[in-house]
């Protein structure tokens, strides 16, 4: 299945790296959309139907946990897999993400293999 993915991170550098990793991972990525915070992500999701979201945690305006909670409480996006990609590595943050319904939690710095393996495991 061709995958359309939304990358949500306030760092343009990380968005660029994740886009490259996804395209080189041979996991069937078709379109990659970008947003720099949770609010932009919601706008992007209204315009584009995607199969996967990769989201940072620490972002301005609406952070990744708030975005995750919003998506999981909205019928339209409840089943949309969200992988958190973040420097926040504390057990409490991981547990919070899992309880909110995250499909995965990848800590920065990450390797291309970690991203590829996690995405492959979901599709």
């Amino acid at each position: 299945m061709p995958l359309d993915v939304l990358i949500v991170d306030d760092s343009a550098a990380i968005r660029k790296i994740l886009q490259r990793v996804l395209r080189q991972a041979e996991v069937g990525v078709r379109e990659v959309y970008e947003a720099s915070d949770g609010l932009e992500a919601l706008e992007a999701l209204k315009k584009h139907k995607v199969h996967l979201v990769l989201a940072d945690v620490n972002m301005p305006n609406m952070n990744g946990m708030q975005l995750l909670a919003h998506l999981k409480s909205t019928a339209e996006w409840q089943q949309l897999p969200v992988i958190m990609v973040t420097t926040e590595g504390s057990q409490s943050k991981v547990m919070e993400a899992v309880q909110l319904g995250a499909a995965g939690y990848i800590r920065k710095p990450f390797s291309a293999e970690q991203i590829k393996d996690k995405v492959s495991s979901l599709f």
Binding site: S11, A12, N58, T87, K108, P109
Partner: protein, 176 residues
Amino acid sequence: MDQELIVRAVAAATQEVFSTMLAAEARQQAPYAERIPNVSDGVVAFIGLAGPWTGAGMLSCSPTLACRLASQLLMADYSEAEGVSEEVLDAVAEIANMVIGNVKNLLEEELGPMGMSIPTVIFGRNFTTRSVAQGEWIVTPFDCAGERLEVRLCLAPCREAAPVRHGFHSADYVAL
């Protein structure tokens, strides 16, 4: 605050970021402490830390190294001759975010949970840095293929543990 604990955490975090994201080596040099951050030129990224312990982390390097790190992180050519672009500053900010974020993760095991601000990055010459934070800055220098990278951390116990706030609220300023 155990300075060795900070240096170990900074070394582990920096070397992990360099090996995983930059395919490069950062060789740790002898650490030292200073009352006032001795940084007046180049590219500097700041991140505030808050919780039962509060303070800031700082990553600084020359424009040459900043361009090289950005090139390695983004797999593109950022030449110093073309100037330090926004992409270069963004790359340095993200490297600082990963380094200080992982230092925070390691220190939280000993010091309790801390919140972290979004990075602020500065590029310039002949600026003055001051801090009203209590305590010393622990400086851990690294040799990166002949260029110097410095990671500074200043942490002091918070008199009254404040709730974690998001956004930059470090007790530091830079006069340009």
